[in-house]
Each structure stands twice: as C-alpha cells, then as structure tokens.
C-alpha cells in the first residue's frame, strides 16, 4: 500500500466513524440501502420485533411498528423506479431507516420515482393527511371494495393503513434527481406512549 492509498483508507474509516456518530445522534437503529426483497422484509421485521420484545415495548406499539415497516418495505419493493437508465426497469431499490427516540419510533423510506408519477402520489398523500379517523375508515372501505390488486400485488391501501395505524400524518418530500426522476422520502411516526 503506498502513502496515497493509506491516506484514502484512513479518511474512509473516519467517514465510517462520522457515519456511526451521526446514526447515534439521530437514534437510528436500522439502516439499509439496496434492493428490498421479501427476504429482507422478513429479516428486518423479525429483527425489529425481537429488539422491541427485548426492550419490553408494549404489544400495541410492537404491532404498529411491524405494520408500518411491512407496508413501507413493500411500497419500495413494489413501486421504486430504477434510476439512471432509459428503460426504467422495475428495480425495487431504496433506503430504509428505523429510528427510536424517547417518545416515538420513526420509519423512513427513500426511493426514486418517475416525475410523471409524482402528481398522483402527492394527491393521495395529501388526501390521506387531510382525513380524520372516520373519513379514513370510509376511504379504506371504499378502496378495499372497489380497488383491484395491482400486477405487483399491491392493494393501494398502504398509506391509508399507515395513517390509520399510527394516527399521525405522513411526512414526505420529493427531491429532484434529474429531469425524469426524483427521490421520494417518506417518514411515518409511531408514538411509544399508547
């Protein structure tokens, strides 16, 4: 290893330490970037479940966190678009984070979406956020009755279900990547005091 390489190596390791500190500061207990498969979904949910059981989190909170994680992970695996190619082959990659604070858990996902899909996505999120508990129940019933399972096996109920289970609005943000795609960030929050 020459001098230059050694220096690079050290700076990389320093980056890892900064990354670690940053994770601690934001109370992140799980972070992943890559393809979200069914196996990954199962592994993350069971890992988080056993951690919550160890920490004696209430059953209600455990169930809600589990619900939100599954819906968020399945959203990525079913909807994330590929970035950087011309043919937009379905790819199902994204970033997934779970943070645990004093008062709440938060589950955050990030994935690329085609800009053409953003208006519908925003409309749905705004609608879900604007509804109260009863209105959400009505929307859920309407969608489950009238909606059809998509080719990828989604029922179009994920966002509605997350808000119903958590009782909290979904925080979201779209960051432009280029003219065709954006990065879609979504955070769901689950209160620990039920």
């Amino acid at each position: 290893m020459n001098k230059e390489e050694k220096k690079d190596n050290v700076s990389f390791l320093e980056f890892v330490y900064d990354f670690y500190k940053s994770m601690k500061r934001h109370e992140i207990s799980l972070v992943y970037e890559g393809e979200i498969t069914h196996q990954i979904t199962k592994a993350f949910t069971s890992l988080t479940e056993s951690n919550m059981a160890k920490e004696e989190e209430s059953n209600t909170v455990q169930k809600k966190v589990f619900h939100v994680m599954v819906e968020c992970l399945q959203n990525i695996s079913k909807h994330a678009d590929e970035y950087g190619t011309n043919d937009y082959i379905f790819s199902g990659r994204g970033i997934f984070l779970v943070a645990k604070g004093e008062e709440e858990y938060s589950v955050t996902t990030g994935n690329t979406v085609e800009n053409t899909k953003i208006p519908d996505l925003k409309k749905l999120l705004e609608q879900v956020n604007s509804l109260d508990k009863e209105e959400l129940t009505e929307l859920y019933k309407k969608q489950i009755k009238e909606g059809r399972l998509s080719e990828k096996g989604g029922a179009g109920l994920g966002f509605i279900d997350i808000k119903r289970k958590t009782g909290r609005n979904l925080d979201y943000h779209f960051l432009p990547i280029n003219e065709e795609t954006s990065f879609f960030l979504l955070t769901s929050t689950i209160s620990r005091n039920n």
Binding site: H67, G154, A155
Partner: protein
Amino acid sequence: MDVIKIKGTDDTPSVTLDAASNTFEIAGRSLPEDVASFYNPILEWLDKYHQSPNPKTIFNFKLVYFNTASSKLLLDILMKLEDLSKAGKDVLVKWHYSEDDEDMKEAGEEYADIVDVPFEQISYT
C-alpha cells in the same frame, strides 16, 4: 371434496378447509410474498364448495396480523361466504381477536360492515 391443509409460517397463515370434518379456518400471520398465488387456491376451493356445501358452514378467522395486500384477499374470501349465505345456506363467520388487539377487532367490525353475512366477534386472552 379435496382438503386444503396448509401449515403456517412466519409470513403465511395456516389454512384448513375440510368439508368432511366441517372445519374452515385461517389462522396466524399473513404477508405472503405473492398474495394472489397464496390465496387463489383457497378462493377456487370455495367456488367448488359452493356447488355442494354443508348444511352449516362456520368459518373461523384467527389472524394475528395481515398486511394490506392480504386484506383485499380476505375480503374476497368473505364475499364468497356472502354468496353462499345469499344462496340460502347457513353461514357464520367467527372473527377471533386477541383481547388487547384493538386494530384486529376494528378490522373485523369493518369486514362485518362491508359484507352481508352473519358475523360473530370473539375475543381471546
């Protein structure tokens, strides 16, 4: 009639559909990788059962967790039971939920609102 007997896993429910012993039950967790391919044989079985049903059908749901994709297929099952009931057969859905699981109780209430079939909620500890 054929018997469907599926052992539950950590992401698929256990299923028993046995006309001869009059046992109809779905229990456990449901978040299959491919909901349609898991539930289609069950729906097809119910279509066949519709042709020569037992005098009384008690269908037990004992789920502890299901994802939204499964919720749609569970409704499809309930609609088959509704059809059976509308055809004049004696049908009863028993929806079991853990005493401390408010969400599972609510899910049962919502299904009971959507489908027109005798529905009984049963809590367990």
